[in-house]
């Protein structure tokens, strides 16, 4: 076989990957248009596109660009960072059951934010909120990886994650328990369910800088994830600074998840599900999975947020509730698929 022959077989896989990524991008754009069209005034995707670019009636322009765009942009960005975080954690830990919510990151971020609100340190639109959420998320992921240690197996990771998310949940409950103002408690409870309703450009500005920074940190490590497929020791022998990689992933996930949770509350299981959806089309290369997983995360959250507005119900279903209702059975399915590794003590 010649060099050309080797490169040829590779080009096929590359074409498939690029094709899948482009198709998914188009799907995300379509979902955005649908998302912008849904509400008390229904607009077709075409009318939405027109309004977005300054056409159509003034009313539809206001509805699309000022009322609905923030919600759609948040769904896009938050879905993306959750998918990216899941793929990055799975790459770092070489483990298909890794994800932010299983490690207690969103739950901890929520605790950080709730604490700030309950103590009256800041109102819900101040930068103190994402900062507190990010610090708490960083603490949880850092703590988890320190407890689990290097080369930790599935069981240890999941048990530590369970402990940390339970602890964060209990701490949040304690804060609500001790809060004296019943309206405040109600507000926190609703916000914890995770929702994109009534979000403004202020919220977008609150979350975006952190999401973009976190995403950039995670993407910058994409090649290191690939080398890490051979284990930490071999990756190090290939010139990967494994300690720095871990710090980048922890920080990136904390920034992204913290920023996201600060404006929407906890939205779970997108990070777990998104990379799994993409592996059949993209392959298992953890570096190449990052961007497609981000796109899949956007698509999932946009779709879920469209669904909660379409599903007929007496009161609003929160999007975080829906993603968990769908995500947990998927998690159970993954456990079933991985049970040999779990039960065999390979962990």
């Amino acid at each position: 076989m010649s060099v050309e022959a080797v490169t040829l077989t590779n080009a096929d896989a590359a074409r498939r990957r690029i094709g899948a990524t482009l198709a998914l991008s188009a799907f995300v754009v379509l979902l955005m248009l649908i998302s912008l069209g849904i509400g008390p005034v229904r607009l077709s995707p075409l009318a939405v596109a027109e309004a977005l670019f300054g056409g159509g009636s003034e009313v539809s322009q206001v509805i699309v660009r000022e009322i609905r765009l923030p919600r759609t942009l948040l769904a896009l960005a938050i879905g993306a960072i959750l998918g990216l975080s899941g793929a990055a954690l799975q790459g770092l830990l070489r483990n298909p059951l890794a994800s932010p919510e299983l490690f207690g990151a969103p739950q901890s971020a929520a605790f950080g934010a709730v604490l700030v609100i309950a103590l009256g340190l800041a109102d819900v639109r101040s930068y103190a909120l994402p900062v507190a959420a990010i610090i708490a998320a960083f603490g949880s992921v850092f703590g988890l990886l320190s407890i689990a240690g290097r080369n930790a197996g599935l069981l240890i990771l999941i048990l530590s994650g369970l402990a940390i998310s339970s602890f964060a949940g209990a701490a949040t409950a304690l804060v609500m328990n001790l809060a004296t103002n019943p309206f405040l408690v109600l507000e926190i409870a609703f916000w914890l369910l995770g929702s994109l309703e009534d979000r403004s450009f202020q919220h977008v500005m609150l979350a975006f800088p952190f999401i973009v920074a976190g995403g950039a940190m995670l993407l910058s490590q994409r090649n290191a994830f690939r080398a890490l497929s051979l284990g930490e020791e071999t990756a190090q022998s290939l010139g990967v600074d494994v300690g720095r990689l871990r710090l980048f992933v922890i920080s990136g996930v904390a920034l992204g998840v913290g920023g996201a949770v600060a404006v929407t509350g906890t939205i779970g299981f997108i990070g777990l599900v998104a990379p799994h959806l993409m592996r059949p089309a993209i392959g298992h290369d953890p570096g190449r999975l990052l961007i497609p997983s981000a796109l899949a995360g956007s698509a999932l959250l946009l779709a879920a947020d469209i669904a909660v507005r379409i599903i007929p119900s007496t009161s609003d279903i929160k999007v975080g509730v829906l993603t968990s209702i769908i995500g947990v059975p998927f998690f159970l399915y993954l456990i079933m698929r991985e049970r040999r590794a779990l039960g065999g003590g390979v962990a």
Binding site: V6, T7, A13, R226, A227, G231, H284
Partner: protein
């Protein structure tokens, strides 16, 4: 070994978790040699291999090609060692070709889908050297143990480093594949690469190595040609066994025989 040494260590000491694992190990090894590193379990063989590659901190001096290892940045170190750890672990079902291509990572080829012609040639050379071209596109997780060990070796060879460090590359392979791996390493050494192999198989060490290092409780207690380094005295003191000794086709034959 009279030629200029490629890899030297002086007064190497390693402590891991408060325990002294290596004590005052000094050695000088030249290009073109296949060196077997032997010793009982827990003697510090893997630790020595890791410290030579700069993967763990140690006291003492290591020089590669006349440069202090500690003065080299991570990337530069990586170019100088093809490191083959125990077990040939691959965590994701990636195609064999992509695994081998990771050997070019230290040279800046971090994406197997975008190799420069130079890197692609190196990958091809490595794959041809150990004859893994036929499963280039197969997932490594679907290969047999013997096939996987060859892919792992090809990955280490693709670095095209002056030194190859292999940690028990023949463990859990059948005799045919053990010979296969050792012949590949021998051929690599013959292309003036320094190859250091950790092994428990004294027979393979005697058959294939030019030079044998014997470690015991973290100290280098014997070295030389296989017949010298694995003398009856050493076999008795270090391994607490007797061995059948002979010569066949001008190579030393050492077969562990009985405990003493």
């Amino acid at each position: 070994m009279s030629e200029t040494a490629l890899l030297t260590a002086k007064g190497l000491c390693v402590r891991l978790a408060g325990r002294v694992v290596l004590t005052d190990v000094s050695l000088a090894l030249s290009a073109g040699h296949l060196v077997a590193l032997v010793g009982p379990n827990g003697a510090g063989k893997t630790t020595l291999l890791r410290s030579l590659a700069g993967l763990i901190p140690c006291d003492g001096e290591i020089e590669i090609g006349g440069q202090a290892l500690s003065s080299l940045p991570l990337r530069e170190r990586a170019k100088r060692f093809g490191y083959l750890p125990q077990g040939h672990i691959v965590h994701w079902p990636l195609p064999a070709r992509d695994i081998v291509a990771l050997g070019r990572y230290p040279h800046g080829a971090t994406d197997p889908a975008r190799l420069s012609p130079k890197d692609a040639e190196a990958v091809l050379r490595a794959m041809q050297a150990v004859d893994v071209m036929e499963f280039s596109d197969r997932r490594v997780t679907e290969l047999s143990g013997g096939e996987r060990s060859r892919v792992a070796l090809a990955r280490a060879l693709a670095v095209e480093a002056p030194v190859i460090l292999a940690d028990e590359p023949t463990a859990s392979l059948d005799p045919r594949h053990q010979i296969d791996v050792m012949q590949n390493l021998r051929a690599t050494a013959d292309k003036s690469v320094l190859v250091i192999v950790v092994t428990h198989d004294l027979g393979l060490a005697a058959r294939f190595a030019d030079h044998v290092l014997v470690l015991r409780e973290g100290r280098l207690v014997s070295q030389g040609t296989p017949a010298e380094a694995l003398s009856e005295q050493v076999m008795a003191d270090v391994f607490r066994i007797s061995a059948y000794r002979a010569e066949y086709q001008r190579e030393a034959v050492i077969v562990p025989w009985a405990d003493i």
